[in-house]
């Protein structure tokens, strides 16, 4: 692939966290992760449950958390080697939306001041009228207007409204990529879909790409094209979302898909046939071989001893499992 065709390249990222005050223990939160996002509008889902390392990975991509090993290359530039103006350029190009909009805004500050400062300092618009016009146009993309938000503090909004403001703030800089970390998990189902529809619209109208980080595979299917499934710090499976959901390769993906409660009672009988819960969970992070080997029904000696690498199965699909190599 030509370099210009690559938007984001995650190259063998390893992030180690230390814990324990007296005895220094450590675990690898993100373990040798690599993937490439092509330079075309798309929504890529990174899915996984708590402890899968998906949020850590998001923070690494955003430039908030330097990995021990590996590189984040954005349009041919190493994100952790950016200097001066390049840093502002990266802020402009890559934006973030987080889970809890109430944490993203200081409760003592008016919402407008955030939008004003971003427009002035990062977008670089000088005139007050031009700033307001830019803010208003951007708010309209998420179904709001300047009039509705002016003079208001965060607590005067509902969660769904404030999340739309947070999305608008991210859009102010006309980013090429938005990293959205569980952006709808605190929003009620009947309003959640409205936010997801906004993402789809932004992708189509403004050619903005998204990395959608979630534990919710149903919403992932609804909006995204590609999916990466993470488990305990590693990528276990990657591919076009329709293929992965219809015919999962990794045993973990299969179990995850079967476990989701579906709002459709025809799935009930199958769902109620759950396998027994495991005993005391052992420290899966410390397992040498496949992290899933102690729960996997197909586990063999090799799985426990040796880590399977992510390998290509066909043109689009990759899986890290000894069943396939």
């Amino acid at each position: 692939m030509k370099k210009d065709n690559i938007l984001l390249k995650i190259d063998n990222i390893i992030k180690i966290f230390k814990y324990g005050v007296v005895i220094g223990k450590k675990f690898t939160a993100v373990d040798s992760i690599s993937f490439i996002m092509e330079n075309r509008p798309q929504i890529l889902t990174i899915a996984g449950e708590s402890g899968s390392g998906k949020t850590t990975l998001a923070r690494i991509i955003l430039g908030f958390l330097q990995p021990e090993i590996g590189k984040v290359i954005y349009r041919n530039k190493d994100v952790y080697k950016l200097k001066g103006k390049e840093k502002i350029w990266y802020r402009k190009e890559v934006q973030a939306v987080f889970q809890d909009p109430f944490e993203a805004f200081n409760p003592m500050r008016k919402i407008y001041t955030y939008l004003y400062e971003t427009t002035k300092n990062i977008v670089g618009i000088e005139e007050k009228n031009d700033i307001d016009e830019h803010i208003n146009q951007t708010l309209e993309m998420v179904g709001l207007s300047l009039e509705e938000i002016k003079g208001k503090y965060p607590h005067e909004f509902s969660g769904g409204q404030l999340q739309r403001v947070a999305i608008a703030r991210a859009l102010l800089t006309k980013p090429k990529l938005i990293i959205a970390d569980e952006p709808v998990s605190m929003i009620d189902a009947s309003l959640r879909i409205n936010i997801l529809n906004i993402f789809k619209e932004i992708e189509e109208k403004f050619s903005t790409s998204f990395i959608y980080i979630t534990h919710d595979l149903a919403t992932a299917y609804y909006i995204s094209d590609e999916i990466i499934i993470m488990y305990r710090g590693v990528i276990v499976e990657k591919g076009p979302i329709e293929d992965v959901m219809k015919e999962p390769l990794h045993p973990y993906t299969t179990l995850l898909l079967d476990s989701i409660p579906v709002p459709d009672i025809t799935y009930r009988a199958k769902w109620l046939k759950a396998s027994k819960l495991s005993g005391l969970e052992i420290k899966e992070f410390l397992i040498k071989g496949c992290k899933y080997s102690d729960r996997c029904p197909y586990s063999s000696d090799k799985c426990i001893r040796e880590r399977p690498r992510l390998i290509k199965i066909d043109k689009n699909r990759e899986v890290a499992c000894w069943l396939y190599s």
Binding site: E49, S50, S158, G159, G160, Q161, D188, A189, S190, L191, R192, I193, N194, L196, N197, H215, L217, A218, T219, Y221, Y222, M245, K246, L255, L256, L257, S259, I260, P261, V262, P263, D264, I265, Y267, R268, W271, L272, A274, S275, K276, L277, G279, L280, E281
Partner: protein
């Protein structure tokens, strides 16, 4: 016909915030049967957790009860739980007749005592068992609940969230209560563990033939587990019916839009959510509380409150328009 286990009559209560009152549970009347799993569904702030607290009789300021009864059948006589004092509830009702499983297990477990002592405390209070006897019974019982014996010696914080929640469920079922109230019991857990815990909860309910009231915002869980569903909106129950009926033939405009807004795996069809925001319960809308957001609303909806009316066998809906025969 199945026996009734709980009868809630015209129950009203909510929170005092300064000089404001949040009308979280607004004149709810409901029958709950023996040997059923009743789901209570609704979105944040609809009053579903408050209703559960009131049924449990756990009324702590700023929560107040304005009127109504929570009648529980105990040895074939009806007892209004709200009339008892807390000491009575603690001694004679909680754990024995009604158990409560909250979202956060740390609200129930004492961080400074070992899991086995949690079992010992309940067994000594209600069964008069000595410590050693209680420990022995607890380890027998854990096997039955498919929990590893090792947890008995652990402190709550040493266990994972999923394991803690399994312990709380085991404690809640220990004295075989007639009624189990579970408020978002698995919301904080991963889906694989959630599935294991909920299926265990259902199996135990089927074995004991008691009643489980399961509160969750997750319509997927309702579809997988409940026999009937009560849909709450802004402090009111607006629709009740068999789970299959609610999913296949929702009647109230709110229920209908809610169910249509749910995405399922394998579907990319464009879906729409509900316009607007849920109302402020310190000043709820007049008439039907859904009328400002309802596509069917006419004048009567803002003037007169609709009551639950039988639409078909075991299916009730509170909507003027639906009762006039108008469909969304």
């Amino acid at each position: 016909m199945s026996e009734k286990t709980l009868l809630i009559e015209n129950l009203k209560g909510g929170y005092l915030l300064g000089n404001k009152y949040v009308d979280a549970v607004s004149n709810i009347t409901m029958l709950v049967k023996d040997n059923e799993v009743l789901g209570i569904a609704g979105e944040s702030g609809c009053g579903k957790s408050t209703l559960i607290k009131m049924i449990y009789g756990y009324i702590k300021y700023p929560l107040i009860v304005k009127n109504g009864k929570v009648n529980l059948k105990m040895n074939n006589t009806w007892v209004n739980i709200l009339k008892l004092n807390e000491e009575d509830r603690r001694k004679n009702i909680w754990w024995k007749y009604i158990s409560y499983i909250p979202q956060n297990s740390l609200n129930v477990l004492n961080p400074t005592s070992r899991i086995k002592d949690h079992f010992a405390e309940i067994l000594s209070l209600h069964r008069g068992l000595k410590k050693e006897e209680a420990y022995e019974l607890a380890s027998e019982y854990l096997k039955e609940m498919e929990l590893p014996i090792e947890v008995l010696n652990a402190y709550p914080h040493q266990l994972s969230g999923g394991m803690r929640q399994r312990v709380v469920i085991a404690l809640a079922l220990l004295l075989k209560p007639r009624l189990i109230l579970a408020d978002e019991p698995t919301t904080a857990l991963d889906v694989i563990i959630q599935r294991g815990i909920l299926t265990l909860l259902l199996e135990t309910q089927r074995k004991l033939k008691n009643t489980l009231i399961l509160v969750t915002h997750d319509m997927g869980i309702h579809a997988m587990l409940t026999d009937r569903i009560a849909i709450m909106y802004a402090g009111k129950i607006i629709e009740v019916g068999g789970t299959k009926e609610i999913f296949n033939n929702p009647l109230h405009p709110y229920t209908k839009i809610l169910i249509e807004s749910l995405v399922k795996i394998g579907e990319k069809k464009l879906r729409r959510g509900i316009k607007g925001m849920p109302p402020d319960l310190t000043a709820p809308p007049s008439g039907c509380r859904f009328h400002p957001r309802c596509p069917l609303a006419t004048e009567i909806c803002s003037l007169k409150e609709p009551y639950l009316i039988k639409a078909s066998n075991d299916h009730f809906v509170a909507c003027h328009k639906i009762n006039e025969g108008i469909k969304l």
